[in-house]
Amino acid sequence: MTNASLIDFTLYLADSTLVLGQRNGDWCGHGPVLEQDIAITNVTLDLIGQSRSFYQYAAKLIGNGCTEDQLAYWRNEREFKNALLCERPNGDWAQTILRQTFFSFYQRELFTQLLHGADTTLSAIAEKSLKEVRYHCRWSSEWVCRLGDGTQESHERMLAAVENLWPYVGELFEPAPYEKALQIDTDAIKINWMDAISALFAEATLPPASLTTTFMQTGGKNGQHTEALGYLLAELQYVQRSYPGCEW
């Protein structure tokens, strides 16, 4: 295991949780009802908290006075390693919820694997985060059922969300070089993830989905993103770029 792979993998985890957190944060004050507005922003808070833990660890590994803020605010689009799924636009509530479900189910499998991994800091962050991820899985998947098995309108919206997001799930299971170096078993993650999603889709009366019949978009893990990320980072990083080092 090289240190460079560990740094890259930690940044992948940090960037993915930050970017998805930033996306979800847009719902603050706009949720369909107050309770769900609070729920999605609580999920967001957890994601940002997780990303801080990962950034702090990456900064420590990089050394030379590197800080979590430098990593979050001063890296460009091509340096971000987040999964493409995390940067996809919010769309409607169905799309936001489905994106969260796909990612939370993935986090649950990945973090469970990290619990038993060689790196004790990643294991510790994974252990702490898993407690939160289990809430996210439960809450978001309940919404997939509610909408999928709801009215005709909600069912159609959930179908559209699946169509929009499905091409971005394949990347999660395509190992980046740093994942290979760290011996992350993406095949095992894929099998468990697909089993859980298949069961959920059946319950939500959504047609079965397949990972093999759709062309999958990839690149995020190595810094090649959809155009959506640039706009997101421009907003996220604006204040620090305009007033370097500012605090409140």
Binding site: E35, Q36, I38, A39, N42, V43, L45, D46, L47, I48, G49, Q50, R52, S53, T120, T121, S123, A124, I125, E127, K128, S129, K131, E132, Y135, R138, W139
Partner: protein
């Protein structure tokens, strides 16, 4: 690693001091009640160089109260006369509601928040209302006003209330 000073009285005084610091989001609980103070180590006693190390842990990774809590600890220890104060934020072992003191749970209930209860590992209908004690309650949302709480409502007395989730 430097040898620690073992002065049980001085360390006890520090714990008593930290017991006066309250969670900014749930002011009825002290940070000791919550179980987020994991350790106090005295490197040099107050009589000498006054060097102390406090280890705390966040309840949830994104808990926005942690920075405030660390600042409050620093203020109190500075007032007490310590010159070097290290505050370490530990990730492992992960915080759990098992660390909340019994006294803390009673304070929560008196404050109108249902305390964490092993029978309700996942928030559900039927968690006892802290106001009237009825179990005829319903879950409104698994997420409440802060990351650590869920929102319920009592069908008996009609009061909405928070449940501090098992974690």
């Amino acid at each position: 690693m430097k040898a620690l000073v073992t002065d049980p009285n001085e360390i006890q005084e520090c714990y008593a001091l930290l017991a006066t610091i309250h969670d900014p989001e749930i002011p009825v609980l002290s940070i000791l009640d919550l179980g987020i103070v994991r350790n106090i180590e005295l490197l040099h006693s107050l009589q000498t160089e006054g060097h102390i190390r406090v280890t705390i842990t966040a309840t949830y990774t994104g808990c926005p109260a942690m920075d405030t809590i660390a600042a409050l600890i620093r203020m109190e220890l500075l007032k007490k006369g310590y010159k070097t104060i290290e505050i370490i934020s530990a990730i492992a072992p992960a915080w759990t509601t098992d660390w909340m003191s019994q006294e803390g749970k009673e304070k929560l209930k008196a404050y109108g928040i249902a305390p964490p209860d092993k029978r309700f590992a996942i928030p559900v209908d039927g968690i006892e209302c802290p106001q009237c004690g009825s179990s005829n309650t319903r879950l409104l949302s698994e997420f409440g006003s802060t990351a650590c709480k869920s929102l319920l409502q009592c069908n008996n007395c009609a009061e909405p209330f928070d449940y501090f989730k098992c974690h």
